[in-house]
């Protein structure tokens, strides 16, 4: 399966989902007005990966900021990762935040809670 790589823009994050290593990176800004269009191919890629995932998947989520338009698409993405885990595979979610960024910590905790999916909250090392 080809890795999914999307270069970042001012409004959309960097994406590198590599099925050969099981490491998925999301990093940067996510504030497009119609974020669903951006996330649709990512979620489709995840659907294919879900059919034959590695025994261990590591997901690194490092947003500087995400808007409400991205919030629903992000939930969908996390739900797909949870489904992989529910099928018996290891999935680790690392949720990164900048030092003292209370909002990002709260957002990570909130997603973790509504999905009943443990997150590793990690401060970004300067």
């Amino acid at each position: 399966m080809e890795p999914l790589k999307i270069e970042p823009t001012l409004k959309t994050p960097y994406i590198l989902f590599d099925a050969s290593t099981g490491i998925f990176d999301i990093k940067g800004m996510s504030c497009a007005e119609y974020a669903r269009e951006f996330y649709a191919p990512i979620n489709e890629w995840l659907d294919s990966y879900s059919k034959n995932p590695l025994s261990e998947t590591i997901v690194n989520i490092q947003f500087k900021y995400f808007n409400t338009s991205s919030a629903k698409s992000l939930l969908l993405l996390l739900q797909k990762l949870k489904a992989i885990k529910s099928n018996g595979y290891n999935v680790a979610i690392n949720w990164f935040y900048e030092k003292n960024d209370e909002q990002m910590i709260q957002d990570g905790e909130n997603y973790s809670e509504i999905l009943s999916l443990p997150f590793n909250l990690k401060e970004i090392e300067q």
Binding site: E33, T68, S69, A71, K72
Partner: protein, 182 residues
């Protein structure tokens, strides 16, 4: 001629100030957001305040863009295609104001929604947010109905708004948000 050096000197140092009246496009919104983000990076040292202002700004402007997108009336007397946007530094924080014309028939439902948000406690705001977040339907515009809720949660105070009916079918909607410095 106005002495701009004087004006520049007399504006509060390390402040932000912008007022815009005109048509909005998403390209213009991007430019405004980026310019203000750069300015905030320079003048606002607290990460939480900075991100709150940035977040409110994005939600307000994208709301504006979506609403204007959805309106199809035109009234020359009121220059109804033009919106008003303002951000400025105030004592102890920042103020963001948006104003736009909407169809009078939309006023009631929008008012009800804002009033509902204003009636909710902090915990209930989060509950409502999660409820809408998990509701699978996206509305036709990208925001998914979370914009005003998100703003209310960020600023931790009631949304200050007004509606003024200017003609039978046209009303003027104003939203003013104050973000206190952390």
């Amino acid at each position: 001629m106005l002495n701009f050096l004087d004006i520049h000197k007399h504006m509060v140092p390390n402040s932000i100030s912008m007022i815009f009246k005109g048509s909005v496009t998403f390209e213009l919104i991007d430019s405004i957001v980026m310019a203000i983000n750069d300015r905030l990076d320079r003048i606002e040292g607290n990460i939480n305040t900075r991100k709150k202002v940035f977040g409110v700004l994005i939600e307000c402007l994208q709301n504006l863009g979506n609403h204007v997108d959805g309106e199809n009336f035109q009234d020359n007397e009121y220059d109804s295609n033009a919106v008003l946007f303002m951000i400025d530094s105030i004592d102890g924080g920042y103020r963001i104001l948006t104003a736009n014309f909407i169809s009078t028939e939309k006023v009631e439902s929008l008012k009800e929604w804002i009033e509902e948000i204003n009636s909710l406690s902090k915990e209930d705001l989060r509950k409502k947010y999660n409820e809408i977040l998990q509701n699978n339907s996206f509305n036709t515009k990208g925001g998914g109905g979370l914009g005003f809720l998100d703003i209310a949660m960020k600023v931790g105070q009631k949304l200050d708004y007004s509606f003024q009916q200017v003609k039978e079918n046209i009303s003027f909607f104003t939203l003013q948000i104050t973000i206190n410095k952390a």
